[in-house]
Amino acid sequence: MLHSYRRDDTIMPRTITAQNLQALIDALIAANIRVVGPKRVDSLCLYAPLAKGEELDLSELPRRSAKETFLPPAEEILSFERQGASTSVRSPDLSRLPATVLIGARPCDAAAPGILDAVFSWDYQDDFFLERRRKTTIVGIACTKADDACFCTAVGLSPDSRQGSDLFLTPLEGDSYAAEALTDKGAALLERHPELFVQGETGRPLPLAEPRAAKVDLAKIKTWLDGHFESPFWGEIASHCVGCGTCAFLCPTCHCFDIVDEGSEAAGCRRKFWDACGFSKFTLHASSHNPRNTQADRFRNRVMHKFKYYHDKFGRTLCTGCGRCIRACPVGIDLVAVLEDINTQG
C-alpha cells in the first residue's frame, strides 16, 4: 500500500463551496502544484492540467479515464546520443515529475490507480508509475449522474465509493461539497488552506447516481472463466470486433504498453506507449505466428485479464465499471451484456 489510511475522529467533515474549490485550485497552481481535473476541450470533457480553477468542469464523466495522470499515453524511458565512436545513454530524471493533485476523479477513476499498484510494484518496480503515485493526491467526487453504460455497482464499487481517494467530495445542495479526508495526503490538502473550508456539513447531499446495470456475481463469473478458455461463446460475442484500441485506451485499468526506439542513429529515445490487446499485432511473433489469431481470441483475453488473470495473480478485479468501453466501442460490444451472459451461463 502506498498510503497509510487514517480515519480518526479528529478529522471532522468539512464543507467547501464550488467557488472556494476553484480558489483551492488557483492556490495550488500558484504554489507550483500541477492540478489535473475534468476540463472542457471542444466537444468533450477530458482530465487535463488546469490553468485556473474556473476550468474545472464536473458536469460529466470525462471521455478518457484519469489513468494518464499516472501512465501517460507515451513517455520517454531513456534517451541516447552518439558522439563520435561512443554513445551516451541517459535515464529521465524522475525527481522532476511535479507534485500533482488529481481533482474531481469519479469513483471509477479514483479506484483504478490503487488497483494498478499491484502490477506496477510486482516483480519489477515501475518507477515511472510509482513516482507519480507517490507525488499525486487524489480528490475523488461522488457521482450524481449515471447512464445505462455505467456499472460500478456491478463490480463492487459505488457512486460514492471512497476507494482510492485521499480526499473525497460529496456534492451538497446549494453548490457546495462535503470534504472528507481519508489519508494523510488528503488531510494535508485540507490543512493547507483551512480558510477555504467550513467545519461540518452545511447542506443535504444530492441524490447519488443509480447505475442501472444488474449486479453480477464476480466469483461465479471467475469460476466460469476458469473452465471456458475454449468456448464458442467468444466467437459469438466478439467475431465482429474490428480490432481497434478504443476500449483499452479509454479504460481506467487497462495498462499494457509497448516500447519503441524513435529518432535516428545519431540521437533518439526509447518510449513506452499505450498498447491494446485488441490490436492484431499485440501478440504477433517475429515468425508471423500469432497465438491470438482472431478478434474473438483477443477479446477473450480482455475479459480474462480483467475478471480472471488479474484476480488469479493479485486478488483484484481489473475493472471499475466506468462503462467507457461500452459507450465508445464502434461495433457495440457491451461488457455488461457479456458479464450478464456469463453470469447466466455460469
Binding site: 471521455r63 467475431s239 465482429h240 480490432g243 461500452i326
Partner: protein, 315 residues
C-alpha cells in the same frame, strides 16, 4: 461541430412505423435467403442491451433472422466485414449484406478495387431516412438534434442496383448542411490558423486506430503505420506521429473514400476526420474531375496514368 448541434429541433423526423416496416422487410428477406440456402450468412444489425442501441451481427440460420432490425442506431458501414482483415467475422461463400446508400458507395469502391465480387453478394438496400450522430442518446428519436452530419446532406437515401430494397422512403424535410459550412469556415482561414486548428484536433488523438479499423478501404494486411523496422510513422502517441498518421490516412483514402464518415463516428476523441476526407474528395473533383461514386470504377486517378495528366505541379 458540437456548437451547431445545439438548439436544434428534437421533433421526430420520421414515424416509428417506418422502422417497423424496414425491419420486417429485412427479416423476411433474410429468412428467405437462409432457408433457401442462397447465402451462407446475412450481415445486418441486431438490437443491443442499451436502450435504442444496435450492433453488427452475422446471422447464419433462418431462426435468427427475426433478430435483425433497422433503426437510427444502425450506423455501422457493414461493408468493412467483406474486407480481408475482417474475414474471420464472416463464413465463406455468398453473403447477403444490409447497406444504406452511403455504405453502398464503399461496396462500389471495393468492387472496383477487386476486393469483392458482385456475384458473391446479395445486397439488401435500405430506403434510409438517416442515422444517429456519434455520442447521442440513442433512446431518443431521430431528429434534427440527433441525426448524423452526413445524413443532413445525403443524396443517396435510396441505394441503387441492389438485389432487394427494404422499406419505402418517408417524406424527409430538407436539413441545412452543417459539415459543408464547417469546411467552408476552415477554408476561409489562413494557412496558419488552419494549421493551428488541426494541430489542436490531432493533439487529442490517442492512436486507438478506430478510424482505420472501421474503414472499408483500410484493408492493407500490414499497415505502413504499424511498422517499426524501419519506422515510417512514429508509433508512440505524440504530436509528430499523430500528424503523420492522419496525413497518411487522408492521402491514402483520396479518391477512394466513399464518405461513409465511419472514421469520424468511431473516433472516441471527436476529431472531425470527415472534413479531411471531404476536402480530399473536392480536390479530386477539381483536379481530375473524379468522384468516388456509386458504380464500380476500375482505377482511380491516383492509381492510374494518362498521357494528358496535369503535370504542372512538377517544378
Amino acid at each position: 461541430m458540437n456548437q451547431t448541434a445545439q438548439n436544434l429541433d428534437s421533433a421526430p423526423l420520421v414515424d416509428e412505423t417506418y422502422y417497423a416496416a424496414v425491419t420486417e422487410a429485412i427479416r423476411a428477406e433474410a429468412a428467405r435467403l437462409l432457408t433457401d440456402g442462397r447465402v451462407a450468412a446475412v450481415i445486418g444489425y441486431v438490437a443491443g442491451r442499451r436502450a435504442g442501441s444496435a450492433l453488427p451481427a452475422v446471422i447464419t440460420t433462418p431462426e435468427r433472422a427475426g433478430e435483425l432490425i433497422f433503426s437510427p442506431a444502425c450506423r455501422n458501414n457493414l461493408s468493412v466485414y467483406l474486407t480481408k482483415p475482417k474475414q474471420d467475422a464472416v463464413p465463406k461463400g455468398k453473403l447477403a449484406i444490409v447497406v444504406k446508400g452511403c455504405d453502398l458507395r464503399a461496396l462500389a469502391g471495393l468492387l472496383g478495387e477487386s476486393q469483392i465480387r458482385r456475384e458473391n453478394l446479395h445486397i439488401i438496400g435500405i430506403a434510409c431516412a438517416g442515422v444517429f450522430a456519434a455520442n447521442v442518446d440513442q433512446s431518443l428519436p431521430l431528429s434534427e438534434a440527433t441525426i448524423a452530419k452526413k445524413c443532413r446532406e445525403c443524396t443517396v437515401h435510396l441505394p441503387k442496383e441492389v438485389d432487394f430494397m427494404a422499406g419505402t422512403l418517408p417524406m424527409l424535410p430538407q436539413l441545412a448542411p452543417v459539415e459543408a459550412e464547417e469546411l467552408a469556415r476552415l477554408e476561409a482561414l489562413t494557412p496558419a490558423e488552419r494549421w493551428a486548428f488541426w494541430k489542436e484536433q490531432f493533439s487529442r488523438c490517442i492512436r486507438c486506430l478506430a478510424c482505420r479499423q472501421v474503414c472499408p478501404f483500410c484493408f492493407c494486411t500490414q499497415c505502413l503505420c504499424d511498422r517499426n523496422r524501419p519506422q515510417t510513422v512514429e508509433n508512440s502517441v505524440r504530436p509528430a506521429g499523430n500528424l503523420s498518421w492522419h496525413i497518411v490516412r487522408a492521402m491514402h483514402l483520396a479518391g477512394r473514400c466513399a464518405g461513409c464518415a465511419e472514421c469520424e463516428r468511431a473516433c472516441p476523441m471527436d476529431i472531425p476526420l470527415n472534413l479531411l476526407n471531404r476536402k480530399m474528395a473536392e480536390e479530386l473533383k477539381e483536379r481530375f474531375d473524379y468522384e468516388a461514386g456509386l458504380s464500380p470504377q476500375e482505377k482511380g486517378p491516383l492509381t492510374s496514368y494518362q498521357e494528358d495528366d496535369d503535370e504542372s505541379f512538377i517544378k
